[in-house]
Assembly symmetry: C2
Amino acid sequence: MLSAYNIIAKKRDGLELSEEEIKWFINGLISGDIGNYQMTALLMAIYLNGFNTKETAALTDAMLYSGETLSFNVTGVVDKHSTGGIGDKTSFILAPIAQACGVYVPMIAGRGLGHTGGTVDKIESIEGFKTSLSLKEFQKMLEDHGLVLIGQTGEIAPADKIIYGLRDVTATIDSIPLITASIMSKKLAEGAQGIVMDIKVGNGAFMKSKSQAKKLAKSIRQTGLRFDRNMMTVLSDMNQPLGDAVGNSLEIIESIETLKGKGPKDLTDLSLHLAGGMIYLAGKAKTHTAGIRKAKEVLKSGAALQSFKEMIERQGGNPAVVEDYSLLPQASHHHVVAAPRSGFITKIEATRIGLHCVSLGGGRKKAEDKIDFGVGFSFHKKVGQKVKEGEPILTIHHNENQRDLALKISDEMLSKDIKIGRQKPAKIPNLIYETETSWSQK
Amino acid sequence: MLSAYNIIAKKRDGLELSEEEIKWFINGLISGDIGNYQMTALLMAIYLNGFNTKETAALTDAMLYSGETLSFNVTGVVDKHSTGGIGDKTSFILAPIAQACGVYVPMIAGRGLGHTGGTVDKIESIEGFKTSLSLKEFQKMLEDHGLVLIGQTGEIAPADKIIYGLRDVTATIDSIPLITASIMSKKLAEGAQGIVMDIKVGNGAFMKSKSQAKKLAKSIRQTGLRFDRNMMTVLSDMNQPLGDAVGNSLEIIESIETLKGKGPKDLTDLSLHLAGGMIYLAGKAKTHTAGIRKAKEVLKSGAALQSFKEMIERQGGNPAVVEDYSLLPQASHHHVVAAPRSGFITKIEATRIGLHCVSLGGGRKKAEDKIDFGVGFSFHKKVGQKVKEGEPILTIHHNENQRDLALKISDEMLSKDIKIGRQKPAKIPNLIYETETSWSQK
């Protein structure tokens, strides 16, 4: 007979759990027959003793079917997901690019909590943009127009919400099988036929080391394949913010600039790489390289920018923001952080930058916190670049009552978070470390 | 700053927790600031990554001071605790023996749950025996008379009750530091100056192997020393029931018989060994051997039996039970389990015997179950003894409506729980494997 006790004891002793046991446990959690205190004991046992591919797939499956699942009446539906980083706004760029190339892009995105920002918070910088559609509206909009962006809904994988909440307070976040099941249960429920997974590596990411990130990438591909999805995993750098802007409306502006072909190189390159992957997985290009080529074309032609404008309009926002940034919330004050000496930028602690943004009000400490869309940072220098004494490294965008806070952040950045060395750093982080593709056999 | 998350993460990563962290966590659990779901994650991390002596002492301390603590105005206060086994009724024998030798014996005992019986349930076979005194009454009775036996109270180490409840449903019972802290927090709060710990080893005990039991013994001695207690640990066999009787009033009768010098050899020997240890720790004998000699004297003289009678009278029971067993609850029916073939008893699965006693109503499946005092088993043969076909191995004591159940138990015992071999077993379990004493330096 199945019992919570025996299932916990089995994993505690390092044994493999059966599919039946895992599903029974998750169903019990949802129904309330199994207590949160039993789930967290199991989570810690999984964290310490691991889950193999089969167990991870069973957990994913149980979480996936804990709620609604979508499937679309069109083919070529490909989504992208990122494990989260500072200044990561690729979604706003790659989604219109992919859509302009004929890919159907169903985005169900998250809000920010802790040091990373949220895609949904950022797009809500555009007044009126509606991120809370019903799943029916979402499906129709996708099938009719090929691009839609909404926030997470309780109907999709509710088990993940419960389990994530428990992991968050019991130090069991950082486990490859649990991360895999959390991400994949949502992405699979959302009905994408192909998934491009951008796995961030570095001081601003969950995955601090390449070897850990590679393991997560493999686990995600393997799980996707078990559910007959075409999978691409990309390991990309998060040892400094991506692009130059950090902060909600600042990142929207930078995304539009990038769609206009005037974005920072790292952000543009990564967006094209990921969009190219989506185009490839959707069958709209024969190779990843051909996909990237197509992505470049629609960026250059303005078709991607046009796609973004149309999405804004469909979802209730004012598409004129694309031409007039004054329609977006902007902080009233600026504080320039200048280099205290000449040299080279050798390090920018991305996580700390994210936390400073939260302290300005640009992110949430608690789930109920309100976001201040206008605050944030514009970087003028990145790792490896030369800087002269007195030259601006970044600008802090803050409100009038935050002068002291801005000064404090500036001091902390210069004393702790941003390092200036005499020599050009020997190793400047690559933007993209690895790309792997796995095709479903179906 | 202390946080539940960081403390869990530290133990998850196999690091040592500070005394401050452990106390803060347990206090948070008691106050409700830390959720049960966080406690169970930490418990699993402790189960898998361990606790060293220092951490175990800190946990014991935090649990100990979660409630009332006693201290007595007399010296020579020594308690005994057993990790639990089937047919273990030594308390009723060794406590009067020790008291008759001048030891003060404050017993706060448990009720039965699962396969083992409880000392408090057994003594309650004696009608009117009051096991729920206030701690003040308990202290006065001990100081005035040197012997008192009560049930566990919520005032002593309430943290243990919460934590034990959580361990019980999350497969984290079987951890040496957690067992140590659970036992020692209660025993230390109860104010004994010396503690004799009877650690059971074998198929009917928590500790299945001698090596595990030795580790627990060491952990308990070390923790006791940290709190300046004199400690004796005894490893004793639990590969078959102790003595011949299993069941509440049957065990009281056997205890009285033993106090009259007519008890089974194993029960008598272990009781004298443990009582001798208490006498030694209390400073009433120069060596353990001398303590055992004194114990034998008061058993022989009848002083121990007299002490037991006086305790019964003080605590509201009828001391005439000692002469007239018909005053105790007795089952109306008997079913004799006879040997299906001649040979030697090679095995008696003690845990299974305990579970059969529970199924007759002699124990509890749930905390709210009522006990039937009269039911149980009387063994006529033990491991290593010769048996002829048709000869009684044991008698089942049951009620009228339990004829079918008795037959079923008899069948299961003969087919599964009691093994009869052709040859005398090469290894007959020793009764006592190891005795270690540690003296406080204070």
